[in-house]
Symmetry: C2
């Protein structure tokens, strides 16, 4: 059954892109069944009661609420300089079931190009599409935090990890450090890495250094693999 998105399920119609997709692409019609999620864990089954290109009315026949998983993953990433790399990172982390994505401006972030490479409207559209594609019901919250100290002050996840490139005193892999069933925040550095002051400040704010493996990963790859490693820690816990 096709999955649609509507921010508020109390409003019983789709408009805009969702209505167009229903009418023009899928050519659904009166009496057809659809699923709708609000991206906050609620899923409704509904029957179409009126369909045109601009507005699709539905009647909800069943509705369930999903629980957010106990190990909700918050990713905090210093954005790469290429829009498409930030975009695929958002798509892939959404597929994996990330709950929150924060783009954090650090010392080595190019501020001049930030608005172009982190286009929140576009990233939200990509996340929405990936959430529906992978049949999930939580839409990640995506935001920009333009102050590194403000980011550190505001983090409240009980588990906090920071990954950066180092050749000496390589820390233990994230998978071996992360505890299952607890919220996690993982902080990933930019191209050119964090400054030593930033690493010091993050460690003081409770971020534990972690490794992400023996090969040198690009920022966006590191972010996706870190997100994946946290999910795999839950898989291991179930053994």
């Amino acid at each position: 059954m096709h999955l649609f998105f509507s921010e508020d399920l109390a409003i019983s119609y789709l408009t805009g892109e969702e209505a167009r997709h229903c009418y023009k692409v899928l050519r659904l019609t009166l009496g057809d069944q659809i699923q709708i999620t609000d991206g906050k864990g609620r899923l409704a089954k509904a029957v179409l009661t009126q369909v045109d290109a601009n507005r699709v009315d539905f009647h909800i026949v069943q509705s369930i609420s999903m629980e957010q998983s106990a190990y909700a993953v918050h990713m905090a990433i210093c954005p790469t300089r290429k829009a498409e790399r930030n975009e695929w990172m958002v798509e892939k982390m959404t597929e994996l079931g990330v709950l929150q994505i924060q783009f954090v401006v650090s010392e080595h972030t190019h501020r001049e190009t930030l608005n172009r490479v982190v286009n929140l409207e576009r990233l939200n559209r990509i996340a929405l599409s990936a959430m529906k594609q992978s049949q999930q019901y939580f839409l990640p919250k995506i935001s920009i935090q333009s102050s590194f100290p403000a980011f550190l002050a505001q983090v409240d996840q009980p588990q906090r990890y920071i990954a950066y490139v180092t050749d000496h005193n390589v820390p233990e892999h994230l998978l071996n450090q992360v505890q299952a069933a607890q919220e996690v925040c993982v902080l990933i550095g930019p191209e050119g890495d964090f400054s030593s002051t930033e690493i010091k400040e993050a460690v003081e704010a409770g971020f534990k250094p972690v490794s992400l493996g023996s090969t040198r990963l690009r920022t966006e790859t590191a972010a996706v693999m870190a997100c994946h490693a946290v999910h795999l820690a839950q898989v291991l816990d179930k053994r």
Copy 2:
């Protein structure tokens, strides 16, 4: 130190794109030191003896050979219909250190668009760039296998896994099945998945069904995450 690629280290000069990059982009000159790998595990340190736009001569001062890792990962993937998704899959698996990537044509593969969406020359360039970027010395072998039965007949890795979408009898996660320090082949289905005949044939050829997690992943995401899970199994083994 900058890393270059030369298929044969017995030939002591770079040509083509590598020479251009050295001369035009990095503006290296006589006496500068570089590193060169043959993508087969050999790494040489060398000094430039002559530099121009078309040819860069070097003198090797030191050379070492890396051992291929015991758990070499062979990924066999039914290609997606979008060239850029196949391309990023190759880039990311190369960053993670995959040894071999085979694009396997299955029943649900679009044969008509195959040569466009799996452009080996372009994919090899992407893998080369990713190998250098992530400072590795093994270039994955990338190929197309246009017969599914021929693929099954030729596989010789001791560990073989197949991932496909199923809602009943969900198998154990790859991470919980894979054995460390042994060669692995993981087979990933296309959009629209394998046919039931193909799954049956693969299982008969020794492929064990595995899960890749609770969310539904796109083909290219599944491939990269499977590759990552095999690497993480080695990390766990070291605990």
